[in-house]
């Protein structure tokens, strides 16, 4: 027995894991009867359906050969998502200017083509200035210019 369709296998594993979580948490909600569906009725039913799809997908992965999973692009993945998380952390603490600058610089590192040159720095300053003027001043999105760390 070995996995012949790794995509099917891992997708199935995700469905099954999600289904188990849905049913497990859902057991705390009242199921009710079919005439009076409780809050747990529909989610539990969906969880069961999802579990079936998960099992079918896993079983199929042992029977039918499928494409291999191409390697993850870890560097772009970590930098793009990490910079967004960093933005979320820095926005209330360091303020929108610092948070945006970090988002752009860390995010930009994900590309092989990014160079530290005049154009990039001008683009960075331009985007930050645009966002401050349009979103904070113009549309009034409540983002602190300077965060709690900087006495804003």
């Amino acid at each position: 027995m070995h996995i012949r369709g790794p995509r099917d296998f891992w997708a199935g594993a995700i469905y099954l894991a999600l289904a188990i979580v849905v049913i497990w948490i859902g057991r705390n909600y009242q199921q009710g009867t079919s005439a009076r569906m409780g809050p747990g009725y529909f989610p539990t039913a969906l969880g069961a359906i999802l579990a079936i799809f998960g099992v079918v997908s896993i079983v199929r992965s042992f029977i039918r050969a499928g494409e291999a999973i191409s390697p993850f692009a870890w560097r772009p993945l970590a930098l793009v998502l990490g910079s967004v998380v960093l933005f979320g952390l820095l926005l209330p603490t360091a303020g929108v200017i610092v948070a945006l600058t970090c988002l752009i610089i860390v995010g930009a590192l994900a590309s092989r083509h990014t160079r530290l040159d005049v154009t990039s720095i001008a683009a960075l300053i331009g985007i930050v200035a645009f966002c401050v003027i349009v979103f904070v001043k113009g549309l009034g999105v409540p983002m602190p210019l300077l965060g709690s760390w900087l006495g804003g």
């Binding site: 995509r7 891992w10 997708a11 469905y15 999600l18 849905v22 948490i25 859902g26 909600y29 009242q30 009867t33 079919s34 005439a35 569906m37 409780g38 809050p39 529909f42 989610p43 969906l46 969880g47 999802l50 799809f53 998960g54 997908s57 199929r60 494409e67 999973i69 191409s70 993850f72 692009a73 772009p76 993945l77 793009v80 998502l81 910079s83 967004v84 998380v85 933005f87 979320g88 952390l89 926005l91 209330p92 945006l100 988002l103 752009i104 995010g107 930009a108 994900a110 590309s111 092989r112 083509h113 154009t119 990039s120 683009a123 985007i127 979103f135 549309l139 999105v141 409540p142 983002m143």
Partner: protein, 502 residues
Amino acid sequence: MMDMLANLALGFQTAMSLSNLLYCLIGVFLGTAVGVLPGIGPIATIAMLLPITFGLPPVSALIMLSGIYYGAQYGGSTTAILINLPGESASVVTALDGYRMARQGKAGLALATAAIGSFIAGSVATVLVALFAPPLAELALHFGPAEYFSLMVLGLVASIVLASGSLLHALAVVVVGLVLGLVGTDVNSGVSRYSLGYPQLADGIGFVVIAMGMFGLAEIVSNLENEATRSAAIKHVTGLLPSREDWRKILGPIGRGTVLGSALGILPGGGAILASFASYSLEKKLSKTPEQFGQGAIEGVAGPESANNAGAQTSFIPMLTLGIPANPVMALMIGALMIQGIQPGPTIITEQATLFWGVVVSMWIGNVFLLILNLPLIGLWVRMVSVPYHYLYPAIMVFCAIGVFSISNTTFDVHLMALFGLLGYVFMKLGCEPTPLLLGFILGPPMEEYLRRALVLSEGRADVLVREPLSAILLAIAALLLASVLLPAIRKKREETFVSEG
């Protein structure tokens, strides 16, 4: 007939107000500008621009969003023609001959053909929406909860069958979407479901969070993975207007594309995508010189582009009258309407007559803007197309991050978006197309509600779904569709159809 004229008059009154004209124009312009940028499809474009419409009254917001949608689609075609980089699957076909034409120095002609075809198709489709939406809504008013539930099942199944990729995974992804849609406070019992103790999840997961994460961020990572150096071959675009000879060639394909697109656009799922593929193969079959297709045949641009735009327009019919999204973009529209406090459904035509007819008329106005905006502005689009991706994507990330934050002013959503970015990327890696997730997400809550009501009325007997004749018919169609995919012969044909889509 008189009714329709009166209704259209109401629509013109609404859509022609100075502010709504302006919002339509801004929408079309922004949609095209963002849509032109390589690597950003219409879903990401709309999700990104959605937050700026929240402050507007519902009519203006929907008018602007529709404008963004047509603009984004036209922008996608521009990118496909100029640099052979289709932003969405519907413009894959346009790239086949459009890019060839551009290489032969006829980029201007290809772009003008796309604009003219889109305009004619859009105008016809607008009339069709005005004609067919009211009777459909009338019919839908007689639907009970069982019929609605079955209709939604059919909608989901059809969208899966018509989309490309593995049936099993599409079904599973829809269920994942349905489950995600249930997160938050249950309307009937007041129980907070699956909120994991986060008060920010009490109102459910924001659909913009999911859309931007799965289609914005995940796309960026995926694009960076295969970062190629693009050659912006075309610097100047000349020779815009079609000659008399060209007109003779394109009118037929535009007409046929319009009919095909309008019919297929109403269908749930990849109606517009299917329409452009169908139109392309139809024109190739009808052509006296089929060998020119793929070598820069102008008919190969005119037909699919018209079909695509007609389909985009008629997909508003099921969205506005039944509250059922025919594609992920319509799912976004429904989400936007709900943020505005409007529940799309059959009553919208009577209760929100101004909104409905205003939007219908603005579709046509949007197409006029598209035409007069694009022909003179092509030079600007060409310059935007050639912006390198490594300058673009940090800006996209900035708009995603600020956009998501601005909806409910919480950084929680920003982090959640990153999580959905990860999920979207993993799904892509595993070959699971993530678009059905959005449809499921939007339909989760109403499906639960209609099922609940149907079962209350039938005193808990689930066979009500097949005992009501109309509901039974809808479910039977859904079952037939599923069976048709599983049958080997049709399955093979379906794989052939999508093979060129990659």
